[in-house]
Symmetry: C2
Amino acid sequence: MGGKDINIYLEEKKEFIDQCLAEILRAYPKYPRVIHDAMEYTVMAGGKRIRPILFLATAEMLETGIEKSLGKIGCTLELVHTYSLIHDDLPALDNDDMRRNQPTCHIAYDEATAILTGNALLSLAFEVTADYGQEHNCPGKALALVGELARASGVEGMMGGQVLDLWAEGREISGEEIEEINNRKTGALIKAAVRMGGLVRGASHEQMNKLSKYGESLGHGFQIADDMLDLQGDSEKMGKSSGMDQARNKATYPLRFGAAKAMQRANDLYHDSLAALDSFGEEAVILRELSRLLIFRER
Amino acid sequence: MGGKDINIYLEEKKEFIDQCLAEILRAYPKYPRVIHDAMEYTVMAGGKRIRPILFLATAEMLETGIEKSLGKIGCTLELVHTYSLIHDDLPALDNDDMRRNQPTCHIAYDEATAILTGNALLSLAFEVTADYGQEHNCPGKALALVGELARASGVEGMMGGQVLDLWAEGREISGEEIEEINNRKTGALIKAAVRMGGLVRGASHEQMNKLSKYGESLGHGFQIADDMLDLQGDSEKMGKSSGMDQARNKATYPLRFGAAKAMQRANDLYHDSLAALDSFGEEAVILRELSRLLIFRER
């Protein structure tokens, strides 16, 4: 698959996910209006939908055909991701004013609404998953998805990572500690996206282990790429403030070890991610392309 | 059942729930330490455990015997309740310094930690439910519990109620609007507690409707009692600041209609809650007692 084809693939999947997201927001309660508006404002702001796409690509690698219902499960990852961004941008955390090329939720609304909107998105992700399991009569599968999403978003995953990230600001921490932060803060949800793709297809224990390995390498490589972009600083391309990690004395791989070593580490992680896909053969072509695009991306 | 017996019942169940909560916090990740400490600090501060007790009492009404695993499901309600209190106390929301007779989470730690700790408790509630379904091989039941908890904590329930509550501050709103706020902000989780008790026992559709009705009346009566206590203002008894509703111009039933009319409304709701229990006969004695205690409570 060439560069052109993968871009078409990404475009198509993004559009599909955007449709599913809009459908979810239409189907769930619209009152009170302000929280519904704030959910729509943040969710529909046009992210790259990387996590849902990783989920769909994994599911398609294992079995062709993507029904609308799987699109909605992909959306739960985007709901959780958006929730984490809304809270991360709050004054008490990163205090960011811009996100996805628009004012952040607490700027466009207010802090209280931003906190509650984030919360509502997390609950919504679980509600969508519960409804999926009931509508499609697959409670076991749906419950496994709930467990995956809960662990990825909780202390073991994103929340633990964010706390570690705050704790690390201004400290001299080791490479292992940086990897631990990255693995939880960013890696957990990316790994969950890939594993959820396996779960909906009833992947074997061995396949799930390979998918975990792929997700971990990709998640960490992705975070290094993000940190490199922040360092190089093109806020227009990124749709958010750049150069902020240095200003905040954040513990990132490139800031700690320099750009050259970070690039080397990212390259190693890229190859680790490919190795994890070996046993999936030709079917893994899109996951390989995604790894390359996400680790060596320019925005 | 006399007043003495119900107090023994409450004491025993509270102790059981406290044990289960401690076990949950022990079993789940303890790193990073600070978020684990903050979770323990807030969860183990010694609330009355009303929601888990309502859940257990409903389950016991339908079928005797309470296993430890059901205690953990009861705990999910307390985790969600504690999460809502932590966020509700934040400076951007109610800005409260004291809760359950100790400094609130953002005072004892900081705002960022309080936001993340609340979030982690919500994810943990779903994780515990997913684990319950897998360990006890009852994915359908567990998934129904997930749906119940997600709806009660989301836009339809608590989050929608909190947004409405903020919106109503300083406005002249109707009795219906106050009831809508109460039903969502407080009622949703109380109703979920009772319904979850029905779900774990495989209650019939008709029984679930009766339980919903009971939970709704109780939830609203409970909120009026809370607002009356705030008005009468004995912060020592309540373990939190009192008289704050008036200061904030909150839309509460007693503030809007006066104490006498609020008492009358609470009394009507008490009788509605009893009527909903009619078909359960003698077995409903504890739910009846709980309704009386919670609607006519003094602290």
